[in-house]
C-alpha cells in the first residue's frame, strides 16, 4: 500500500509542492476577500477558470501557437510565458472586480443578509461558467505547449522538470510579492485595517469601497497567476474546471486559517502534499475524500486552521 509512496517519495513531493503553490495562489483569492468581507468569494473558482483561458488565448490566438507547433525557446519563450502570465492575471483580476461590482457591491451597501450575498455570488459563478461553456461548446480546450517539459536533473530518483521548477519558483515569487504588498503598501495596510476593524478603518479615513475592490483585484491577480501555472503544468482546461480547484483551494484556505494570508501559504502547500501522498497510498479516486475528511477534522478540532492565528471565532 505504501510502496508507491516510498518508491516515489521525492518526485511525489516535488509534484505536491508545485500543486501546492497553485493552491496557495488560488486560496489567496478566497482568503483575502474573506479577510475583508467575512464572506466566501464563491465565484473565485470561475475567476480561476477564466484565468486559464486567458493563458491559452494568449499563446494560441495572440502568438499563434498550435498543438503541433514546436515549443518556444530563448527570449521568445520568456516573452510568451510572461505575456501569458500577465494576460491570465489581467483576465482574472478584471473578472474578480466585475464579480465584486455585480454580485457583492449593492448587497453590501444595503447591509443585508449574508445568505443573499452568497446566492448572488453563486448566481454570478453560474453566469461565468455557463458563458464559458457556450463560448467553448462545452469542449475541453488543450493548450499548445510553449514551455518544453525538459527534465533538468534527477535528485534522489526524482525527475526535476522545467515546468515544475518554473511553477514553484515563479509562484513563490508572486506569493511573496503579494505578501509584501499587503504588508507594506499603503493600500495593503488599508486592507489589513479593514479586515481587523471595518468601522475603525472607515473612521480613520480609509475608503472602504476602494479597499474592497482592490482586495478582489489582488485576489483575482493571484488566482489568475495560478491559472497560468496550472496550464503550464497540466496543459488543458474546461469550463467546469473551476469547481475541483475551487474546492481544494478553499480547503487550503481553511486549513491555513481563512482570512490569514500566511495561512493560505501553509494551507496550500500542506494540501498539495497531502493530495499527492494520499493518491499514492489510497489511489487517485480517494484523493478528494481524504481532503474533505482532513478538512472536517481540522474544522472540528482546530477551527481556526492548522497554522492560523485566531480570526473571529463566531461568524453568524
Amino acid at each position: 500500500m505504501f510502496e508507491v509512496l516510498i518508491d516515489q517519495f521525492w518526485s511525489l513531493t516535488i509534484a505536491g509542492v508545485a500543486l501546492g503553490f497553485i493552491y496557495v495562489l488560488v486560496s489567496l483569492g478566497y482568503t483575502m476577500v474573506y479577510g475583508v468581507l467575512r464572506m466566501i468569494n464563491f465565484a473565485n473558482s470561475e475567476i480561476f477558470m477564466w484565468g486559464t483561458f486567458g493563458t491559452i488565448v494568449t499563446s494560441r490566438d495572440i502568438f499563434g501557437y498550435s498543438q503541433t507547433s514546436a515549443p518556444a525557446t530563448g527570449p521568445k519563450l520568456a516573452l510568451v510565458l510572461f505575456s501569458q502570465l500577465l494576460m491570465s492575471m489581467a483576465v482574472a483580476g478584471l473578472t474578480a472586480v466585475f464579480v465584486e461590482f455585480v454580485a457583492y457591491r449593492r448587497l453590501r451597501a444595503k447591509g443585508t443578509n449574508r445568505l443573499a450575498t452568497l446566492i448572488s455570488a453563486i448566481g454570478i459563478s453560474i453566469v461565468l461558467s455557463e458563458l464559458m461553456r457556450l463560448l467553448t461548446d462545452s469542449r475541453p480546450v488543450g493548450s499548445p505547449r510553449v514551455l518544453e517539459k525538459i527534465i533538468l536533473t534527477e535528485v534522489w530518483g526524482a525527475n526535476i522538470r522545467l515546468d515544475t521548477v518554473v511553477t514553484i519558483f515563479a509562484a513563490a515569487a508572486i506569493y511573496f510579492l503579494l505578501e509584501r504588498f499587503v504588508k507594506l503598501s499603503r493600500m495593503g495596510k488599508a486592507i489589513r485595517a479593514v479586515s481587523m476593524n471595518e468601522d475603525a478603518a472607515k473612521l480613520m479615513g480609509v475608503n472602504l469601497n476602494r479597499v474592497i475592490t482592490t482586495t478582489f483585484l489582488v485576489g483575482g491577480l493571484a488566482t489568475g497567476a495560478a491559472g497560468f501555472f496550472y496550464i503550464t503544468v497540466f496543459e488543458y482546461t474546461k469550463f467546469n474546471i473551476g469547481f475541483t480547484m475551487g474546492m481544494a483551494a478553499f480547503t487550503a484556505a481553511v486549513l491555513g486559517g481563512i482570512g490569514n494570508i500566511r495561512g493560505a501559504f501553509y494551507g496550500g502547500l500542506f494540501l498539495g502534499l497531502l493530495e499527492v501522498y494520499a493518491s499514492a497510498v489510497l489511489g487517485t479516486q480517494w484523493k478528494a475524500v481524504t481532503v474533505f475528511i482532513v478538512l472536517v477534522l481540522v474544522l472540528l478540532f482546530k477551527p481556526n486552521g492548522l497554522f492560523g492565528e485566531a480570526v473571529q471565532t463566531t461568524r453568524a
Partner: protein
C-alpha cells in the same frame, strides 16, 4: 399619499388569510390543493414545457425541488444553519431505494421508511459532531459531507460506482392509480401529498416549542442556550427532520427515474436547492414553495433558448438577490395589528325603546369609558334595567345604535353578546341554585370553550385541557371575590350576601370587558355595602369596566367615576358625582319640585 406596494405579496396573502373565517380557510385550502392537483392537465396551455413533457417537469424538478427546499428550509430557514451538503440525504434515500429495490422484493412504499430512517441516522451522525460549529464553518463541513457521500458512492462497488444502478422498480399502483413513465400524474400527486405532509409538519412545529427554540437559536444562539434551550438537541432535530424530507425525496426520485448514478448528486444540487430557499424567501414556507417552483420550472420553460438557459438562470439569481435580498416572499413575523382603540367601550346613540305605546327609553345617549365605574341612577321606572336589557340583547332597541368595542349590537343572540365581552348580574338573584358555587362559575367560563359534546364524551386532549384550565380559572375568580371557601356548596344554600357576590363572580367567569351590575347592594346592611364597594373597586382595578345600577346614594357617590341619571326614559344628567348631586334637575326628579322653585 399612500402608495400601495403591489410587490408585497406576503402581506397581501396573509391579509386574506387573517380575515377569513375557519370555514373560508378550509375552503381556500381545499380549492388550492385541488387546483394544484389539476396542474398536470395544463400541459397544453401556455405553461407547457417545450422539450420535456409537462407532467414530468412537474414531478422533477418542480415537485422534488419544492419538497427538498421545504426540508432544507427547516435547517437553513428555521434554525439558521447553513447546510451546503443537503444533497447527501437525497442521495442516501435514492441509493437505499436503488439497492433494496433491485436486490430485494420490497416495493417503494416499504423502502420509503427505511430510506427516511437511514437519512435521519446520517443526519444525527453528522449532526452530533458538526453542529457545534456555526456559520461558514458549518457550511464548509456540510459541503464536505455532501461530497464525501458522493465520492464514496462513486468509488464503491456496492453502488456500482460511476455506472450507477439501473432497473430500479417503479412504485406499485395505489388502487386504480398506476405509475407510468409516459404519464407522471400519479407521481405528481404523490409528491404533492409528501409536500403537504411536510408543510403540515413545519407549521405544527413552528408555533410550538421546537419552532420557538429554532427561532431563538437563529437569532442568538448563546442567549438561547442561557435561557435554557438545549440548543444542540434542537439543532440536531432540525437537521434530522431536514434529512428525513431529503431522504423521502430521494426514495421517490430513484423509483421514478428507474436509474441513478453518482453524477446526479453533486454539490450543484445542494446549491440549487439552497438557491430555491433563499430566492423564494428564506424561512417562509410559501416563499420557499414559490421559489422552488420558479427555479425548478424556469430552465425547462425557457428551453427554447436551449443552451443559454442556465446562463439566464444565473442572471435571474443575481438580479433577484440584488433587488429583493430577502427573497420573493420575505420572512417577517407579522405583528398582530394594534387596533386603534376607542376610548369608549360602550356607546349608545339615540337609543329609543318602545313597548307598544310606552316609551321606556327616549333617545338616550350614553358612553361608558374603558376602565371606569359608571353609575346609572334614576327613580323607579326611569328605564335603567331597560338599558341593561338592550345592551345584553334581551330587547332589541326600536331605533338608535348600540356599539360595544367596535361591534354594533342589536342582532346578536344573547350568548353571542356575552361572548363579545358583556356580562351581567341580576337584580333578583338568578344563580343556578342546585349547582355548586364553583359549577356556577365554570359554566360561565365555558362560553369561550372550543370543544364540545363529543370531545367531552371521549376525553379528547383539548377537551380535558380546557376543563382543567376553566376549573382553575373559576377557583381563581372565587378567590378574587373572596368566597372561595364556599366553592363546593350548592348556590341555593349560600347566605344572601355570598349569593350576591357569587353573581358577580359568575359574571366575571365569562371573561367580560364590561360588567353590568344590577343593584348589587340590594338588601345589604351598611357594613356589607362597604365591603361590596371595595369589591367593585377591586373588579375595576383588575381591568374590567363596570356599569352599575344602584339606588344607594352613599355607595354610588363613593365609588363612581361618573353618574348618569335617567328620568322617564330620558337622560337628564351625566357628570362626576359631586356635580350630579347638586344638579337641580336631579334633585327635582328624585324629590319632586321644591316648593320655593317656581
Amino acid at each position: 399619499m399612500k402608495i400601495r406596494n403591489y410587490w408585497n405579496l406576503r402581506d397581501f396573502g396573509a391579509n386574506i388569510w387573517e380575515k377569513a373565517t375557519r370555514t373560508q380557510r378550509v375552503a381556500i385550502a381545499l380549492t388550492s390543493i385541488l387546483l394544484v392537483g389539476l396542474l398536470p392537465f395544463m400541459g397544453g396551455s401556455i405553461l407547457a414545457t417545450p422539450i420535456a413533457s409537462f407532467d414530468a417537469v412537474l414531478v422533477y424538478p418542480v415537485g422534488m425541488f419544492v419538497l427538498m427546499s421545504l426540508g432544507l428550509n427547516i435547517v437553513v430557514g428555521k434554525s439558521g444553519m447553513l447546510d451546503l451538503g443537503y444533497v447527501a440525504f437525497f442521495a442516501i434515500g435514492a441509493y437505499t431505494m436503488a439497492i433494496l429495490g433491485t436486490t430485494t422484493k420490497m416495493n417503494t412504499w416499504e423502502i420509503m421508511p427505511i430510506g427516511i430512517a437511514l437519512a435521519m441516522i446520517a443526519g444525527v451522525l453528522l449532526g452530533i459532531p458538526t453542529l457545534r460549529l456555526r456559520g461558514d464553518y458549518l457550511a464548509i463541513v456540510t459541503l464536505g459531507f455532501g461530497e464525501i457521500v458522493r465520492l464514496v458512492v462513486l468509488n464503491s462497488s456496492w453502488s456500482k460506482g460511476p455506472n450507477g444502478i439501473a432497473n430500479i422498480p417503479m412504485p406499485p399502483k395505489i388502487g386504480p392509480l398506476k405509475f407510468e413513465l409516459e404519464n407522471q400524474k400519479v407521481f405528481f400527486w404523490v409528491v404533492m401529498a409528501m409536500i403537504l405532509v411536510t408543510i403540515w409538519m413545519i407549521r405544527r412545529l413552528t408555533v410550538r416549542r421546537p419552532g420557538r427554540a429554532w427561532e431563538a437559536i437563529r437569532q442568538d444562539e448563546d442567549a438561547a442556550e442561557l435561557m435554557g434551550v438545549p440548543t444542540l438537541k434542537y439543532k440536531i432535530w432540525s437537521f434530522t427532520l431536514g434529512a428525513a424530507v431529503g431522504g423521502a425525496a430521494g426514495v421517490l426520485y430513484a423509483s421514478k427515474n428507474l436509474y441513478i448514478a453518482p453524477e446526479m448528486f453533486t454539490l450543484n444540487v445542494s446549491i440549487l436547492i439552497l438557491a430555491c430557499v433563499v430566492f423564494g424567501g428564506i424561512g417562509n414556507i410559501w416563499g420557499v414553495v414559490i421559489g422552488a417552483t420558479i427555479l425548478g420550472y424556469l430552465p425547462d420553460r425557457i428551453r427554447f433558448i436551449s443552451d443559454a438557459r442556465l446562463l439566464v438562470f444565473g442572471i435571474v439569481l443575481v438580479v433577484v438577490m440584488n433587488f429583493r435580498p430577502d427573497g420573493l416572499l420575505p420572512r417577517k413575523k407579522r405583528e398582530k395589528k394594534i387596533i386603534e382603540r376607542d376610548d369608549n367601550l360602550l356607546k349608545l346613540e339615540n337609543v329609543t325603546m318602545k313597548f307598544g305605546g310606552v316609551t321606556a327609553l327616549n333617545g338616550v345617549n350614553l358612553e361608558v369609558k374603558r376602565g371606569e365605574i359608571l353609575a346609572l341612577i334614576g327613580p323607579n321606572g326611569a328605564g335603567k334595567t331597560t338599558v341593561f336589557n338592550v345592551i345584553t340583547g334581551v330587547y332589541k332597541q326600536t331605533s338608535g345604535t348600540v356599539t360595544f368595542d367596535g361591534t354594533s349590537l342589536g342582532n346578536q343572540k344573547r350568548y353571542e353578546v356575552t361572548a363579545l365581552g358583556v356580562a351581567r348580574t341580576f337584580q333578583n338573584i338568578r344563580l343556578w341554585g342546585d349547582m355548586t358555587a364553583l359549577e356556577n362559575v365554570i359554566t360561565a367560563t365555558d362560553v369561550h370553550k372550543k370543544s364540545g359534546l363529543v370531545g367531552a364524551l371521549f376525553g379528547f386532549p383539548r377537551a380535558s385541557i380546557e376543563e382543567e384550565v376553566n376549573r382553575e380559572r373559576a377557583h381563581e375568580i372565587l378567590r378574587f371575590i373572596g368566597i372561595d371557601q364556599y366553592s363546593d356548596r350548592l348556590a341555593k344554600n349560600l347566605p344572601y350576601g355570598v349569593q350576591r357576590r357569587l353573581e358577580i363572580a359568575r359574571a366575571l367567569g365569562t371573561s367580560p370587558k364590561l360588567v353590568l351590575l344590577d343593584e348589587p347592594a340590594a338588601g345589604f346592611n351598611p357594613a356589607e355595602k362597604v365591603e361590596l364597594a371595595a369589591t367593585i373597586r377591586k373588579v375595576r382595578d383588575a381591568g374590567y369596566t363596570v356599569l352599575l345600577i344602584e339606588h344607594d346614594m352613599s355607595l354610588i357617590m363613593g365609588i363612581s367615576d361618573r353618574v348618569v341619571v335617567l328620568d322617564f326614559g330620558t337622560k337628564i344628567a351625566d357628570d362626576i358625582p359631586s356635580v350630579v348631586q347638586k344638579d337641580p334637575r336631579v334633585i327635582e326628579a328624585y324629590l319632586g319640585v321644591p316648593a320655593d322653585a317656581s
